[in-house]
């Protein structure tokens, strides 16, 4: 222990010598305390950060970000003007600034049939993935707080029901096309 500098450090920062000298000419009136200990910090880069920072200093990738906010445009952006397609029918309520309206039933693609979809769900990996996609969507909707594990458990099922209720999706299934579609899940 004698060898430990942490020990020495604590010994010194315990510095009563300093405290006394400082405290001396102070009216000990804690009622006028101005500083909240919670607002005092010690600034030391945590290890992973300081390492990567060293790397990033030379490596410009982070800094190649462009101006204030402009990088936002690098990703999705809301369509400025909205022109409904000919086949348009009102989307499910789910707001989606991606310009991706939840796909209206009437315009359901001809290339894929309900039956195909069902068939394509027999594979357990695909099923697991669809459930994950649902859980992820429901989680951000604030309806599901369980793990994203691709298991259709009680909590997931209830979350789906709740979502369908909220968004007026009338189909009776849990993983039928209409539901997935309303959740913005496609490609299955």
């Amino acid at each position: 222990m004698k060898k430990s500098f942490a020990y020495l450090a604590s010994l010194i920062s315990a510095s009563f010598a300093a405290k006394d000298t400082v405290a001396n000419n102070v009216i000990e009136d804690q009622s006028i305390k101005m500083l909240d200990d919670d607002h005092i910090i010690i600034s030391k880069l945590n290890h992973s950060v300081s390492n990567l920072l060293a790397a990033h200093r030379s490596h410009r990738s982070h800094s190649s970000h462009s101006s204030h906010r402009s990088s936002a445009g690098g990703g999705y952006s809301t369509p400025r003007t909205y022109t409904p397609p000919s086949t348009y029918t009102p989307p499910a309520k789910k707001a989606d600034p991606l310009g991706q309206t939840a796909r209206p039933m009437s315009s359901y693609p001809s290339v894929i049939k309900e039956s195909d979809l069902v068939k394509s769900l027999t594979d357990k990996d695909k099923r697991k993935n669809i459930i994950m996609r649902m859980q992820l969507a429901l989680q951000f909707e604030g309806l599901y707080s369980g793990p994203i594990d691709g298991v259709m458990g009680e909590r997931t099922r209830n979350a789906v029901k709740a979502y369908k209720k909220q968004n007026g999706v009338t189909s009776d299934g849990v993983m039928d096309a209409e539901t997935l579609n309303a959740l913005g899940i496609k490609g299955f």
Binding site: S13, A14, A18, A23, M34, I40, I42
Partner: protein, 91 residues
């Protein structure tokens, strides 16, 4: 070798103020401090020089420091103490 005397009223100058100022006088200005009920009595043993002038400069600055302390000393101590506390709880 003549001596120089300075008299300073106690109500205007605290002891702390007097001593802090004398502290910074150079070796060339050996002094002794006496007091009576009303005054501080400072004697410079080697007269001449500008010891008295230097002392008054120092006094003036320490009066300013006292005024600043009235405004900030509580916070000053809080800053130092909570900084030490923070470091201590951290190490």
């Amino acid at each position: 070798m003549s001596q120089t005397f300075i008299k300073l009223t106690k109500e205007k100058y605290s002891e702390n103020l007097i001593r802090k100022s004398l502290y910074w006088l150079p070796k060339e200005c050996p002094w002794t401090l006496d007091e009576n009920d009303a005054n501080w009595l400072i004697t410079f043993h080697l007269g001449g020089g500008n010891c008295a002038e230097q002392l008054h400069k120092l006094l003036n600055d320490h009066i300013l420091r006292e005024e600043l302390d009235k405004q900030t000393n509580l916070l000053r101590s809080e800053i130092i103490l909570s900084a030490l506390k923070k470091v201590q709880s951290d190490s």
